[in-house]
Amino acid sequence: MITIGADGTKEVTPPLSDADAESLKAGDRVRITGVMYTARDAAHARLLPLIDAGKPLPIDVRGQIIYYTRPSPARPGDVVGSIGPTTGGRMDKFTPKLLALGLKATLGKGARSQPVKDALRQHKAVYFGAIGGAGAVLSAFVKKLEVVAYEDLGTEAIRRLEVEGFPAIVVNDCHGGDLYQDGMKAYAREERS
């Protein structure tokens, strides 16, 4: 579900529908509230053979958001340590297949490949960016964290996060919009001669 907050920021609450994804445009600021799943290199590598074999995944990705991160350890009494995004491009190989299964958004930092951007259009999904290296600030928006799959992967296990007002921006929308390309074009300046 997506609503507009008092300050104009879009409030994103999974699960998300096709229409929700279509309402998001590159450059939109959003706040995410509810559930996100974490997964990165090692977890994705395990999901792929399951997808290829048509077997069920340990999490139901339909309508959901996957956050590319691996937090630092929590101090006693804290929910989580530092929890900023990792580079999304490393998951490019896996993402189109997850989007085909109904995943509606991924959250990371850094540019995605053309096949991922094409899959976002085809399956009506978005790529959110969170501020890389702002892991201390972002930790405050995580209210709960539990391991839900691949516990043996340790810190790379799939975690279920409950977040409240987690800040992000739409980098790639399902209409072909690309914040990185638009932003660079808008601010590139001629070289001094």
Binding site: P71, S82, G135, K185
Partner: protein
Amino acid sequence: MREIHVSSIVDAVKKLCMEANYSLEPDMLRAFAGALEKERSPAGRHVLQVLQQNAELARTKKIPYCQDTGFVVCFVDLGQDVHVTGGGLYEAINEGVRQGYQEGYLRASIVRSPFDRVNTGDNTPAVIHLDVVPGGDLRISIMAKGGGCENRSKYKMLTPAEGVEGVKEWILECIRTAGPDACPPLIAGVGVGGTFEQAARLSKKALFRELGAPNPDPTVAAIEREVLDRANRLGIGPQGYGGDTTAFGIHILTYPCHITSLPVAVTIECHAHRHKEAVL
């Protein structure tokens, strides 16, 4: 001969690892503030403001600035009059890393082999570069080097004919292709000259220089200024959202080279530029 016991090396490295991950150096904080005055992009300014908050929160709450608490890269200047006692220097540095990362709630990000990729669990080993220098001091400089930006570091063997212009173009090409992936605003550490490994080593060492301090050679300093200006015209901006602040600094170190060679190594460093040093 001055004796330094390994226990003081372990303690120093442990403290440096923790401090580096919680507290950015003042030069970085000045860079954020300076960029905010000039940045035209609202999204870019927002990113810089969040990074300022992040630095403050990390410092006061002792929570890592970035969840990628890095590969420990350690430059050691060992005075030739120093005798390390009680064990090995490298073992002591790694023990300091082990204790610092475990006691400091820092993430273990190192795998024991590039092929089997089993995590060592304590962020060891460090990458250690040793220089023997005159005197009786032991200087240890550590950097917690993030993986995302390291993955965008590049190397090129230019020809002497490509010259200074070729070097400038290559540094800019590295920044352009790093784009949003390397968490800009970034710093480029550049090693020019020497052999293959010497240029790469210099590109790391260059990052320890205070941000904004030029290379003492005016010719090299002019190249640094020009490339920085051109980098900030690329439009990539903070976090790649578009803007005027793509790089905070270009730090070049040079070494004599072979008549046939012009090696250029570029280490890309993100805004989470975490480094500390201690002199024992």
